[in-house]
Subunit: 361 residues, 2 copies
């Protein structure tokens, strides 16, 4: 089987952690039926520096021709002052929107070996495994009208538009229900239907979709503010959370932080079945440690494992990589960000090598 | 000194917990220079049942003539299916907007005696004292256009508008900076300036206000998703957080839950200096335990203490009540919601009596 993969290392620690995935790809090409052809391009800040824009049309064209995209990390203080619409983030929003990657899958998993890294008590987070399905191409991120208007006399007015349609809600709802069926069978849908009509529509459409096609799944509705509370209070009550772009941004980051293992968490952004998925670690570009060879490559390696499962139809291989990651953690190997007493501190490269060694074992 | 107080007990446990404040008022009227005249009315679900609307014009008129308003709790499943704009929440939004209560003060305090109630490790939350200043009369809660449009063929479109002006941002920013001066001198302003122009305006205006008048206060900007993370990771980094209506709704609930003491947290909603402030506990109407006499009155008693300080200019008296609450906790008295082994379980009435006894001591 031949698959095309576009690598977008991006900024900060991005290039270093993508290097570790390149080693995995070589290993796969040498040892399995799967052959992965890679292409690579600048993205984000690196692309601004090279070409003046965070995402070139050529990159987008290459993305469309790929079976999947793996991204390292995007942005950094270096580009904080460039104009609003050519910032690294603008590239991220553009690629999501252009490829119609409407479903962002954000797992929040507590790794047994890392449970002490959580700020929460171990008995509250032990075994935690939540999946947040965040709508990624709609809502206030993209709604029109938007902008800043000058009203004169020093007064300005900033506007954004939160908007959702029936079909936007249904398609991301379907993703959540389908995944819940393969998990614990529970979906919690979050909005502010008590104060926002777009949230009311969200609630009604999710309710209808559930009644039509997914009544075997347990559906619960929760206001987003309450969800932010419940994630802190008793996170184990959640299986799959489905929510909009903005609430999803906040709740998925909160959920990720519950685990204490931000450096460990992968993510996927999926569109229509025949379009390429985009995978990236949840953590940022960490410019403060870039170039030192100490970044944790595991979130990117786990993002690549998700990619194998969801986009390359290589579920067994993806699970093999996940098991290898668990194994190196169990051996006590730790990059600096997850280091604790009694463990062995390793570099980015050593961690990548350890995963390969486990795979080969 | 004579002050006018409007009591709005509201729904669920609201009437029971307001009863305990009435005892405090009698005590104050009997033992201090302050004379509090009370008026009382239905609000929320109770007002829907009595008058068909959650907030009557008469109630609003009484509110305007008062020096402050104390609310119990609002809403409950009983009114979940009434029409959108006459729901109990609609009354809450209307009173905030009509009285122009633009600054919502939401303290998140960890009480030493209750530290084990937090889901977070004690070393992370010990001594926690954050104040969230949430903008309360603008943003997506009130922006126009809004509504649900029928597009035909089963397709609908839900719209809300996020909007902020320079003056809306500045006035709530001022409240935050002024309060920070009396606290640790740090303000963290939260938005999504990286994806929303309204957030970009927010950041610019807060930055300008700071440079103009508050450069003695430390100002930090943080994206709302990162704030949701940092609240979980290292909440003690925050002193005052200032943010918009929607982010404030979510972040203040998350912060409240960090403390593990939702039943203990007060709140204030303030407008222009000469307009009445509105005070209410953070917790809801808890219909499941209403009428059993077991609800925790302390959040409402602490809301009343805030009221004395902010609206009746009786700072010493407010502090006396806060000290009395600390004292009854130190004695080991607990309502069911905060009960732990080795403590003494008391009813709503017993808790109220214990606070009075401390005051009188
Ligand atoms: C960088 C930013 C535009 C982005 C977002 O808000 O979506 C990020 O927070 C994320 O969650 O991927
Ligand atoms: C009940 C609801 C309208 C309200 C809000 O969203 O503002 C509540 O969550 C709050 O924070 O007071």
């Amino acid at each position: 089987m031949n698959k095309k993969l576009l690598l977008l290392p991006g900024d900060g620690i991005g290039p270093e952690i993508i290097t570790e995935v390149r080693k995995l790809i070589s290993w796969i090409n040498d040892h399995t039926d799967l052959t992965i052809e890679t292409e690579e391009d600048y993205f984000g800040g690196a692309a601004i520096d090279a070409y003046g824009v965070p995402l070139r049309d050529e990159t987008l064209a290459a993305a469309r021709k790929s079976d999947a995209i793996l991204m390292g990390a995007v942005g950094g203080p270096k580009w904080d002052n460039v104009a609003y619409d050519i910032r690294p983030e603008a590239g991220l929003l553009k690629i999501r929107k252009q490829l119609d990657l409407f479903a962002n899958l954000r797992p929040a998993i507590v790794f047994d070996a890392l449970i002490d890294a959580s700020s929460l008590k171990p008995e509250i987070v032990k075994g935690l495994d939540i999946l947040i399905v965040r709508e990624l191409t709609g809502g206030v991120y993209f709604g029109e009208p938007r902008g800043i208007e000058d009203l004169g006399d020093g007064e300005r007015r900033g506007v954004n538009t939160q908007v959702y349609t029936t079909s936007e809600i249904r398609r991301v709802g379907k993703v959540a229900f389908e995944i819940a069926r393969k998990r614990q069978g529970k979906v919690t849908s979050c909005e502010k239907a008590n104060v926002m009509e777009s949230g009311k529509l969200w609630r009604e459409e999710i309710t209808r979709l559930h009644a039509e096609s997914y009544s075997d799944v347990t559906l619960e509705h929760m206001y987003a503010d309450n969800a932010a509370m419940q994630l802190c209070r008793r996170p184990s009550q959640f299986d799959v959370i489905v929510t909009d772009n903005l609430f999803g941004d906040i709740l998925s980051d909160e959920a990720a932080m519950l685990t204490g293992s931000l450096g460990m968490l992968p993510s996927a952004a999926l569109g229509a079945p025949d379009s390429p998925g985009l995978y990236e670690p949840v953590h940022g570009s960490a410019p403060d440690i870039a170039g030192q060879g100490i970044a944790n490559p595991l979130a990117t390696i786990l993002s690549f494992a998700m990619l194998l499962k969801y986009s390359f139809n290589s579920v067994a291989l993806g699970e093999q990589i996940e098991a290898a990651v668990q194994a190196v953690l169990a051996q006590g190997l730790r990059t600096a960000d997850i280091m604790t007493e009694g463990c062995q501190k390793v570099t980015t490269v050593e961690m990548g090598d350890a995963v390969i060694k486990e795979l080969a074992a």
